[in-house]
């Protein structure tokens, strides 16, 4: 049996090497592990190594030096390394140096079988490179006990964030003493039931978001898009927590979907706002936990790679999370402020492609409009600018409602473009224009500015009944493209504030 002889030779070479005499390759220096790490980048297309390494196209290589050949669990070896394993072969550095010159030749000579096969087709031609790589591999064999091979391979796109949540339980955050509550989400323009002033200690607030790719109508003419949505609505549901709470967000991308999705929450700290560790293919689910450390109103949105980010955002994948101060809202002097109602308005623009006759095109599945949509999007001229998903979504029967004497908090976001909300006939009594509740509110504004990629909040006490138009005061965007809502306010008219003193023919 050839391999037995070979094993003895390898052992002898190792013994000599241990005696500090480099006998087998007198013309070459010992392997340089640092340089080996650099060369190993060529190997990374197929092999992982180190903590958390998994089998990929090739097996995990953590601890390979000193390990039985063909022995990484969960990896399907070809017949050559299987035979070597059965024969009791154990890798050492010198064997790896030879192997890397030509895995096929090596396995055939090692097993004495000229039909032995290996999957590995890659070769390193320079001997010094092979020595350096072997030396680098050996650095992972100092404490092999700690590096158990895992068998999972995960999808990556162009080496971008892979959504690589290994196991949510490994985080060492002590959540004992935190009460868990599940937030019952509601459809926009409403906010989930919440306390304005927090009682008790910070909690863990559980949120369930399921991503739905669905056809929606975006204007009264019947124009449709295949929207990308958090929980089936544009915008996604509003999340409300208090400063110091933990948010545990379960994000599901059902197998019925066609696209990859994730979530970036501007209220969260780290990992691209969560996008880096929630990237999900259809059929996958992630659990993200973050601490709400900054009080304010923040947007959240889907943020895959490249053009996919604006594409997903302009297909509806955005919404607001509100993090209230534990003591509630305050004016500039620290006096408490409260609201009777909260309306949640997310402004959103669409770039629907048109056909040769100028009519809006329609599509049947998510992603089908990508190329054309991106072309329109790059022109920066939206086809629609809407509140809460569609032209006219907050008028008529769906108009916002209030009564004289009621205080309403309008929370408004635009994930992409600047906007300027204005309440025709009213004001912003207290306005957190940039969204942060750590800054004192501005007072008595006529129009406030919401920067693209942010949310703001405006508190107003209605003093007169009637119909108010709440709009983006770029009137072209409001009237021609859709960014307008109605607030129907009941109550008693106050002549001391305004009165129609005369209306009739011109008087002489």
């Amino acid at each position: 049996m050839y391999y037995l002889k070979h094993l003895q030779t390898a052992a002898a070479v190792t013994a000599v090497a241990l005696g500090a005499v480099v006998f087998s390759a007198p013309s070459f220096a010992e392997g340089d592990a640092a340089n080996g790490e650099n060369i190993f980048r060529k190997c990374r297309a197929c092999h992982q190594i180190g903590e958390g390494a998994r089998n990929g196209v090739g097996p995990n290589l953590t601890g390979v030096v000193g390990r039985a050949m063909g022995s990484f669990e969960g990896y399907k070896y070809a017949n050559g390394l299987k035979a070597a394993n059965e024969a009791g072969g154990v890798w050492d550095e010198e064997m790896i140096v030879e192997w890397l010159a030509s895995p096929k030749d090596y396995i055939r000579s090692f097993t004495g079988n000229d039909k032995a096969r290996t999957k590995m087709t890659f070769r390193l031609k320079k001997e010094q490179d092979r020595r350096d790589v072997a030396a680098y591999l050996a650095t992972f064999s100092k404490d092999d006990e700690a590096s158990m091979p895992a068998t999972e391979e995960r999808m990556t796109h162009g080496d971008a964030p892979a959504g690589d949540i290994a196991d949510g339980t490994e985080a060492k955050v002590d959540l004992s003493g935190y009460e868990r509550v599940k937030q019952k989400l509601v459809m926009p323009p409403f906010a989930p039931k919440h306390e304005q002033v927090a009682t008790g200690k910070p909690k863990v607030v559980e949120i369930d978001f399921t991503i739905e790719e669905k056809k929606i109508q975006i204007d009264p003419d019947g124009t449709e898009i295949v929207a990308l949505t958090f929980n089936g609505s544009v915008p996604g549901p509003m999340i409300v927590v208090h400063e110091g709470d933990y948010v545990e967000l379960t994000l599901k991308n059902p197998e019925t979907n066609l696209m990859e999705h994730n979530i970036d929450l501007h209220a969260a700290t780290g990992a691209l706002g969560g996008a880096g560790i929630t990237t999900l293919l259809p059929g996958e689910e992630a659990l993200l936990r973050f601490k709400a450390t900054k009080p304010g109103v923040f947007i959240y949105h889907c943020a895959p790679e490249g053009s996919m980010t604006p594409y997903h955002v302009t297909h509806g994948m955005n919404g607001i999370i509100m993090v209230l101060p534990r003591e509630g809202l305050k004016d500039e002097k620290g006096n408490s402020l409260s609201y009777d109602k909260l309306y949640y308005i997310t402004e959103q623009e669409y770039y629907v492609p048109r056909d040769e006759n100028g009519n809006f095109k329609s599509y049947n599945f998510a992603g089908e409009d990508f190329a054309e949509w991106v072309d329109v999007m790059r022109g920066l001229i939206p086809s629609h600018i809407v509140f809460n998903g569609a032209v006219g979504s907050l008028v008529g029967d769906n108009a916002l409602k209030a009564s004289v004497g009621e205080t309403v908090l309008f929370v408004h976001s635009q994930a992409n473009r600047d906007t300027r909300p204005h309440l025709i006939g009213g004001h912003g009594d207290y306005v957190w224009e940039e969204g942060s509740f750590n800054n004192p509110p501005m007072k008595d504004l006529e129009t406030w500015f919401i920067r693209g990629g942010s949310a703001g909040a405006a508190l107003y006490k209605f003093l007169q009944p009637g119909v108010y138009v709440y709009l983006n005061h770029n009137l072209i965007e409001a009237v021609e493209l859709g960014a307008a809502a109605h607030v129907v306010v009941d109550g008693k008219w106050d002549n001391s504030l305004m009165e129609q003193v005369y209306h009739g023919p011109v008087r002489n």
Binding site: K42, G50, T121, M155, G158, E213, T256, G306, N364, G367
Partner: protein, 232 residues
């Protein structure tokens, strides 16, 4: 179940049928009753990638003129042709590719298929771009360990050690594989498949114009064509 859910279900069922009962990792149209190729057909090389039988691999991607022959036979759909006769055909989705494979398989009496992702990687092992330096080592930062912007795709003109060309080309290649998490299929196999080139891309099987479109996620390749393999 709402109308959109029904629609989505119908779409999935239709895809399943179109993909010929695809459920596995290397799913594709199987042509039963045909003999396996005994020796490499013209334009193919025999490569040992560790399997029980050698893999017969087309040395070059399927060309525009190859494609047009199938169109002329009314077995492949007429799609806009954007490359010269001897250049790789692109602008075709996975269903188009399967139409070609069925047509060519019947003509040659060979069970052609697309390479799996693993096979493609093994064929291209000496040509795949080397990984960037790892930015972070901590496991919690694995999502950012090799974050980078995609580089332009360098073209390798010379044949590789097996005599295979165009593995690194401006035209990428469809593979038969779905995304995988270990042994378990991850994601939607009926609608998303892996295309290989400068990196791994997940593409909707329906999309022909990948110039900017159709990637289930990530930066999609500009052009996607294909090459055939068969089990020797």
């Amino acid at each position: 179940m709402g109308p959109s859910a029904t629609k989505s279900l119908l779409l999935r069922v239709a895809l399943l049928l179109l993909l010929g009962g695809a459920s596995g990792n290397a799913a594709g149209p199987m042509i039963t009753g045909l003999m396996a190729a005994q020796s490499p057909p013209s334009g193919f090389v025999s490569v040992d990638v560790g399997g029980d039988a050698p893999l017969l691999v087309q040395k070059q991607q399927v060309t525009t003129s190859d494609w047009l022959a199938c169109v002329a036979d009314q077995a492949c759909p007429q799609v806009p042709v954007k490359s010269k006769a001897d250049e790789p055909m692109f602008g075709i989705n996975l269903l188009d590719v399967h139409a070609y494979i069925r047509w060519k398989g019947k003509r040659d009496r060979i069970s052609y298929r697309l390479p799996t992702h693993e096979e493609w990687m093994l064929l291209a092992a000496e040509q795949v771009p080397q990984a960037d330096e790892v930015l972070f080592d901590a496991p919690e930062l694995s999502w950012a360990s090799n974050f980078r912007m995609s580089d332009p795709n360098p073209v390798v003109e010379e044949p590789n050690q097996f005599g295979i060309e165009q593995l690194r080309d401006t035209t990428w290649e469809w593979t038969a594989s779905c995304s995988e998490a270990g042994e378990t299929r991850s994601g939607n196999c009926e609608s998303l498949r892996i295309a290989m080139g400068n990196h791994k891309a997940l593409l909707s099987v329906l999309v022909r114009d990948t110039a900017k479109a159709g990637c289930g996620g990530g930066t999609p390749p500009a052009r996607v064509g294909f090459r055939l393999v068969a089990d020797g």
